[in-house]
Amino acid sequence: MKLAVPSGATKDVALELKGICKSFGSAVALQDVSFQLERSEFLTMLGPSGSGKTTTLRVIAGFITPDRGAVRLHGRDVLGTPPYRRNIGMVFQDYALFPHMTVAGNVDFPLEARGVRGKKRRKMVSDILEIVGLESLGDRLPRQLSGGQQQRVALARALVFNPEIVLLDEPLGALDTKLRGAMQLEILRVVKRLGATVISVTHDQEEALVMSDRVAIFSQGSLVQMGSPRQLYETPQTEFVADFIGESNILRGRFSSVGGGREIHSTCWRAEAPPSLAEHHGFSEGAVVAFAIRPENIAIHRVSESDATVSELNRPNRCTAVVRDNIYLGVEFRLVVVLSDGQPVQIRSRNLKDMDGFTPGTKIELSWSPGDSVVLRG
């Protein structure tokens, strides 16, 4: 890729947000949001509605002035710069195509505003229309296009002037599910080809996982955790992230280091502390520890009546449960089981031939490996 950072260079920070705070009246919209974005990186801001992701996007675009904090584009503070001097491309959720201009007119608009002239300008328009696959539709009006085509026009218009950053506000929200999958890959292809730095906003976790180099999870106006999709899935730091990305079982117990071993106890199970516990200081004897286990990381075992003795409880990372629901999902099946303290636990398994053995009411045994459990903060 032509814009790739030369090897050995220090990392090229395209955007930096530092301590952004914003309130609307008494409602806190953003609370101390800080992050950095490298050139050519694709970041998705993910969170439920009202979590502050769109407000963050509008702060970057310059449509909202934060109460505190700094926004730097390639090291340059842009807080005092109006949106039309920031050189940022934005795709709106409803595309916001100018209805009175043709496709080519829409794409040409940012070049006109920048005073690009003549042959170069026409070439830039036709080049980008070709990249998004609309070269034959330049004379159409936006209302004559399908949703997917309008989305491509909006993308072309946001990219044609080589902006420092491209912002996508729920770019696929208005499309139906099938088209959405195709457009995810299409947008990725175009922005990667141009080496664009992109920040996208969505509440669709699959979209975030598919498209992003890194994902920033927002909740209640704060940036909760930021990392690659894999980091977020495998090592969520909080209960919110563990639950928001994929599904998790959250187990709570008390920390114990009696006898040299580091363990977490509850009334119905005993777990060896996962390796990641070392990173979390301050767990004293008896402190409450929460950890997450993904439904696919729990193994299930059938038990005969005679096996279910009290002595089984003494083995770590194992416990008994009763099947509540057994649901067939095609490639896998899902069990909801209830522990003896009443907590429901979700389990997914692809071992479909075993499925019939776990009818509701059956007593079973669960086990997990300590390495698959992740200790959560707070």
Binding site: A61, G62, F63, P82, P83, Y84, R85, R86, N87, I88, G89, M90, F92, D94, A96, F98, P99, H100, F109, P110, E112, A113, R114, R157, A158, F161
Partner: protein, 263 residues
């Protein structure tokens, strides 16, 4: 269809026709009278001729009044469209203290008795030396026409997606370019409709004009008024017909423009 619903229909349409006749006839009756060959304005007219139209067109008093009326109406249109569009944008887009009061003030000429307004304007303008001047008349008519522009521009602003202006700013167009290339083209139907309303308001206006005009600065409605007081000639009917047709065409144009907008 049952008999009772047929009767209901007939009664309904009779009522509609009666109301339409009540509203239209007093105005429309002058049109046949304007083609009379007689020297009086009695209905029904006698014969058919354009002689009263010829009289009007050849009369220097009517010529001067027409030019004055056109000048005043066109200047009023220009002033009220500029001010009214700006006011509509400000009232629609921004939040400021006293916004409701400002809106009410701009719209108040719609509900203020015209004679009260005219007397007030006359007293103030006399002192300022604006009474009897073209500028004074344009200012007064602009006050009357402004609410129509504000209302029709505001109505089209509701149809414009606010993200379009943000998109334009984000794409590098400054506020002025955004207005010229994005906002104005999209609210143009409302602006043009407002302009026509403003023109007609001034073109037909008589109360304010009676106070603010002089023998040397007279609009058509004022001349009609003074002639009618002396003698009722079919020439006045001819002028009335011309005024009526121009206003009717204007209203038809507004309907067409706004209907296209809704499609």
């Amino acid at each position: 269809m049952t008999a009772s619903s047929t009767i209901a229909r007939v009664v309904f349409w009779l009522a509609v026709c009666a109301v339409a006749a009540f509203l239209l006839l007093p105005t429309v009756v002058i049109i046949p009278i304007s083609f009379t060959t007689a020297a009086n304005t009695l209905f029904p007219p006698v014969g058919f001729s354009f002689k009263w139209y010829r009289t009007v067109i050849e009369d220097p008093a009517w010529q001067t009044a027409t030019i004055t009326s056109l000048k005043v109406a066109l200047l009023t249109m220009a002033c009220s469209v500029t001010l009214g569009t700006a006011a509509a944008l400000a009232l629609f887009r921004s939040q400021f203290i006293g916004k409701t009061a400002v809106r009410a003030l701009i719209l108040s000429p719609l509900v203020t008795p015209l004679i009260v307004l005219a007397i007030g304007v006359f007293m103030v303008f006399s002192r300022w030396g604006l009474a009897g001047t073209l500028v004074g008349l344009v200012i007064a008519d602009t006050v009357l026409a402004l609410p129509f522009v504000v209302v029709s521009v505001t109505a089209t602003l509701y149809t414009v997606n606010p993200n379009l202006e943000l998109a334009s700013l984000g794409l590098g167009a400054g506020p002025w370019r955004t207005f010229r290339r994005v906002t104005l083209p999209l609210i143009l139907p409302g602006v043009v409709a407002g302009a026509i309303f403003a023109f007609i308001t001034s073109w037909d206006e008589v109360v304010m004009a009676i106070f603010l005009t002089t023998a040397s600065l007279r609009t058509i409605p004022v001349l009609v008024w003074s002639q009618v007081r002396a003698e009722i000639s079919p020439a006045v009917a001819a002028v009335g017909s011309i005024l009526f047709v121009i206003s009717a065409l204007g209203m038809a144009a507004v309907r067409l423009i706004l209907r296209d907008e809704q499609r």
